[in-house]
Amino acid sequence: MRISAALVLLLTVPALHAGFLSSNASESQVKCVYSGTDGHCVEPILKSENELVITVVGQGVAPSVTASPAQAYALAKRAAIADGYRQIAEKVRGVHVEGQDSIKNMMLTQSSTRTSVEALVRGANVNNTTFKEGLCEVEMEIALSYSRVLQ
């Protein structure tokens, strides 16, 4: 009897210990996607259980020479939509930044910064459009969820 109880205890304790460790490991896998530059854990912004809605306001200006006010409005709106798509891509995908400084005789002679972004955006919607004094603003939104990302 004592031997069997000791055997059960011996088998149970490592199993519980392993289960405890594995649950901790899975939790840490869910919460931490990658380590930041300072070594700290970075949590995912998009969680599996909820939807993330990103809203941006794109701006566009009509060309100085247009055939009619209607054409000016249409062109300004297209430019605003392009700006909105760019902002969505920047928020979701990130921006590639490249800077260049030229120093001559210990003095800064030239400085330039280039940013670029490239992405395929699917499912963005235009919610609201305003056109005032030649400036068109479009409010756009995109809903991100695991099901959409994995499509």
């Binding site: 249409a74 430019a79 605003a80 939509i81 030239q110 400085s111 330039s112 280039r114 940013t115 395929l120």
Partner: protein
């Protein structure tokens, strides 16, 4: 599970849609590109080409546009470009953006591209139905 009326009407409807898209409709490849510099559009092109061979017949979504008498697809898309783009934008857009900043100069260049895809276009007397195919 079989409904009380049977599944035949659904199958027949699907067959009818597929046959209509493959036989009655013309297939076109349509693409679009907009380039804007410093938030002003500088170039806009809508490319249209009739498909040399039929595309797949799996419809994704469609739009009906009003057609004037004997109006070609080119003229119709030129007139209804905004509505067509709203319909096409619900699928996907490719965006490419470059910005250059110097102490005395800022320049932005955005390019918005609608990837060229196959559409089934069905011409009627007063309307045109454009269906995006998979």
């Amino acid at each position: 599970m079989r409904s009380r009326n049977g599944n035949c009407p659904f199958i027949l409807t699907s067959l009818a849609v597929t046959c209509t898209l493959s036989l009655a409709a013309d297939h076109y490849y349509i693409g679009y590109r907009l380039t804007s510099k410093n938030t002003q559009p500088i170039e806009e092109t809508l490319t249209l080409s009739k498909a040399m061979r039929p595309c797949s017949t799996q419809p994704l979504s469609n739009i009906s546009l009003q057609r004037l008498e004997n109006e070609t697809l080119e003229a119709l898309l030129e007139r209804e470009r905004t509505r067509f783009l709203q319909f096409a934008a619900s699928q996907e857009f490719r965006v490419k953006s470059n910005e250059t900043l110097t102490p005395i100069h800022i320049e932005t260049l955005h390019t918005l591209t609608l990837p060229t895809k196959c559409y089934a276009v069905e011409f009627n007397d007063r309307s045109v139905t454009i269906t995006l195919l998979e």
